[in-house]
């Protein structure tokens, strides 16, 4: 029994051990890795992926997928920038409606939420596979971003937003605070609320969940909505970091988010996984990216390395499940 417990503990800690070994290896190969500024840099960089990947975790836990998060991130970021920079002018009323940084952020989150809800609505109302529905949203949101920005970055958004992306609060970068709050909220939601348990139940066995009285469509709608809103928070962070909304922001971010979820131990077939695991997965990807840059590895090889890590994570996960 003790041996079984130890095996289970080892399995649960696999990602954490992998992260530790990766850090150790890179620290041995590069003396810059363990410097304070570099570690803050890594945390700052992964904070965007953490926000997106937390939403992706909820979706994957329900055995779904959301390929649109990168594009939703770009559109929401552009909306945030556009609201802050341009506001709305009503010439006939001689009225200008401006938005503060808070207004821009809330506007972006609302847009992300609405796009996510639209994904959920298409998936539940028309029984479209999530892969297809969110793939469609990927191009729709990217197109909307191009239309809204006219293909040109929206820049110079002021010191308020710049602080969100580059500022420090109590010695910790603001984006790290934001991702930390996101993680804590969603760890609580997934572990301690009925809504969280419903997500696991739907991913574990949708039919059984339905028969036990769970309103599956409503939960799916909410989860896709939340995934969109979290992508929007990621969009705000990216826009704030650059002090500019780039029309091509967030390209392939969905792949990094899915990678973080899978490496963190969440099963793509749903029902198994955790938000904390995803955070470790995102950290592994962030450390890997940072380490490969520090070691002067070509960006092309970086892509290969990332792919191999994802593949290994899935294979190990499959083997674990077979043993269990």
């Amino acid at each position: 029994m003790n041996l079984t417990f130890n095996n289970q503990l080892l399995r649960k800690s696999q990602s954490l051990i992998a992260l530790f070994l990766l850090c150790l290896l890179i620290a041995l190969l590069s003396d810059k890795f363990l410097t304070t500024s570099n570690l803050w840099n890594v945390l700052r960089q992964i904070s965007v992926n953490v926000c997106i990947a937390v939403g992706m975790t909820l979706v994957v836990l329900m055995a779904g997928i959301d390929l649109s998060v990168g594009s939703v991130l770009a559109f929401s970021g552009a909306i945030c920038a556009g609201l802050i920079k341009f506001g709305f002018a009503f010439e006939s009323l001689d009225l200008f409606v401006g938005f503060t940084v808070l207004g821009g952020i809330l506007g972006a989150m609302l847009v992300g939420l609405l796009l996510g809800l639209f994904n959920g609505w298409v998936i539940t109302r028309f029984v479209v596979p999530p892969f297809v529905a969110t793939l469609a949203m990927l191009t729709i949101a990217r197109g909307l971003t191009m239309l809204y920005t006219k293909g040109i970055p929206i820049s110079n958004l002021g010191p308020g937003l710049e602080f969100i992306g580059s500022g420090w609060l109590l010695g910790i970068p603001v984006p790290v605070w934001i991702s930390l709050i996101v993680v804590l909220v969603f760890v609580f939601i997934s572990r301690k609320t009925a809504f969280g348990r419903y997500i696991y139940a739907i991913g574990g066995n949708e039919k059984a969940a339905f028969l036990s009285g769970i309103n599956i469509n409503r939960i799916k709608l909410a989860v896709y909505g939340l995934a969109g809103m979290l992508a929007a928070i990621g969009g705000v962070l990216v826009t704030a970091r650059l002090n500019s909304a780039q029309p091509n922001a967030g390209m392939t971010y969905e792949l990094d988010a899915i990678a973080a979820v899978v490496i963190g131990g969440t099963s793509l077939s749903g029902g198994v996984g955790s938000v904390t695991g995803t955070v470790i997965g995102a950290a592994i990807i962030g450390v890997l990216n940072n380490g490969l840059v520090l070691l002067n590895v070509s960006p092309f090889w970086q892509q290969v390395a990332k792919g191999v890590v994802i593949l290994l994570a899935v294979i190990i996960d499959k083997m674990n499940r077979k043993e269990a």
């Binding site: 009225l95 200008f96 409606v97 938005f99 503060t100 207004g103």
Partner: protein, 203 residues
């Protein structure tokens, strides 16, 4: 939900809304904007009086030959950069025959140089501002203001100067070009030359 919870929620929305939106008279705002520093006018004077009249562009062939001879000296003599680093911007000129025109760029067979690209669509970044050497970071209070100069200068070249010139060009035409290139001391072996144009002159 209990009634007091609805009340709290309403108050929270009210508080967020109050701190999110502000209202101004449009006419007041427009008057205020006019009183602010006019980056468009600054970019106009920078381009027409500065770049076209004061900046001495180096022949691209000369620059490349000098770099091959003594890169440090060539970077020092012709290059402009804001801080330390291996890269610098150069204001160059050259002439040749157009070998291809795409939506984004012109390919030019430049005399004494070979194949060179001229960016015609994505005129962004700080290449023109920095290659000109006319604007100093210390002239502005913040990086954001400094970058707005690039934004205005790029917009002028991208939207006003280039379109009528580019529309008239065809493959096989001979042109002269003045523009900015970025070169890095670390990548001088066969650099892919892409000029951010300031001026294209049909010949």
């Amino acid at each position: 939900m209990k009634p007091y919870q609805y009340g709290l929620l309403f108050l929270a929305f009210l508080l967020l809304g109050y701190n999110s939106v502000y209202f101004e008279k449009l006419s007041d705002r427009q008057a205020g904007a006019e009183a602010d520093f006019d980056y468009g006018a600054y970019a106009d004077s920078l381009y027409y009086q500065g770049m076209l009249q004061e900046v001495a562009a180096v022949e691209l062939a000369t620059l490349l030959a000098d770099i091959r001879n003594d890169a440090d000296a060539a970077f020092k003599n012709y290059g402009n950069r804001l801080g330390i680093g291996n890269s610098a911007y150069f204001m160059v000129k050259g002439s040749g025959v157009i070998t291809g025109i795409t939506e984004d760029a012109i390919r030019l067979q430049a005399a004494g140089v070979g194949d060179v690209g001229i960016n015609t669509r994505y005129i962004f970044g700080n290449a023109l501002r920095d290659a000109s050497g006319l604007v100093k970071l210390t002239d502005f209070k913040t990086n954001a203001e400094f970058n707005r100069v690039s934004e205005a200068l790029n917009a002028l070249v991208r939207t006003k100067v280039m379109p009528p010139l580019i529309d008239a060009l065809e493959t096989g035409d001979s042109i002269a070009v003045v523009g900015a290139v970025k070169l890095s001391k670390k990548a001088l072996d066969d650099p892919a030359l892409m000029i951010t144009p300031a001026q294209i002159i049909p010949q």
